[in-house]
Symmetry: C2
Subunit: 160 residues, 2 copies
Amino acid sequence: MVLFKPEQKDTAVLRLSRLTDYAVVVLARMGEEATALQSAPGLATRTGLPEPTVAKVLKTLAQAGVVEGLRGARGGYRLAKPLPDIPLTEVIVAFDGPIALTACVDGGSGLCESEHLCPVRGRWDPVNTAIRDALEKISVAELAGHALAPAEADFRLAAE
Amino acid sequence: MVLFKPEQKDTAVLRLSRLTDYAVVVLARMGEEATALQSAPGLATRTGLPEPTVAKVLKTLAQAGVVEGLRGARGGYRLAKPLPDIPLTEVIVAFDGPIALTACVDGGSGLCESEHLCPVRGRWDPVNTAIRDALEKISVAELAGHALAPAEADFRLAAE
DNA sequence: TTAAATAGGACCAATCAAGTCCGATTTCCA
DNA sequence: TGGAAATCGGACTTGATTGGTCCTATTTAA
């Protein structure tokens, strides 16, 4: 059901990519038959989302290890673990990149090429960790309920 | 000194507009002489930032009530309150809009036109409030120290 | 051997933000 | 009283980023 409306203009600080939204929808569908092997075209028709988009989402999710992809005829995708065990952060990171306020990922990793040029390093850490903690407590399953239950009709509507 | 590097490609979930960054730099400068009336051109030369940009930043800050603008010749801007009393959220909201995960601002306000299409409403609230709380604890003054101290040289460098 | 599926990119169009600029208004000063 | 120096408000252009599609290679079952 597309968790946030695409048309909405107001840019909040926390902008998730639309793919993230689609991912939750697709995962919710897969969660209905958690152990079954489901193909991208099949999931596309069942969610009502365009097939190429669903394929892209699944490829990304497979790379992230959230789902498991099996190639070849009769291939498909399968949840790597049950929905309640998938924290939202895993999905978000897969599509939107690291969860952090600035471009510099905080702490440890020495990715910041010019550390002496980036005096804010570490200052935003409390904020970043607070955000991660909050997100980590929410599993995909918790959103999946909303993503499916009465939303089936709404979903088609919103995705036109 | 430009708190995050513009060139950095990796798009994190939390994307602050660059104006927000500039705002902190400008505010830091103003904080050095908190009570003085300072003009946009003057602050531009003192920060090394392009004048039109500084003007835009100050206009936005004035609208938000963070600074006070006095028109006419010998006019200028003045801090509405000391730096330590300005929470970061105030600056962020001014430039980046409401601090929320989705386009829907959570809770209360009935802005979401089609509430029945947005079943996630309320679900993200804990996340949103956690983020706000974390940001509210940080004042501009805390960043200002870093934004000025050894950063003067770095700043010009990063802003090329 | 063929068909059906994933895997991995390349590619194009549309949207959004950054930055600049202009006109209107206000106020001080000579 | 006129001119200069500011703020104020918005329009506009350019560049980057995202969303979405498509194409080719690879794998595997029938």
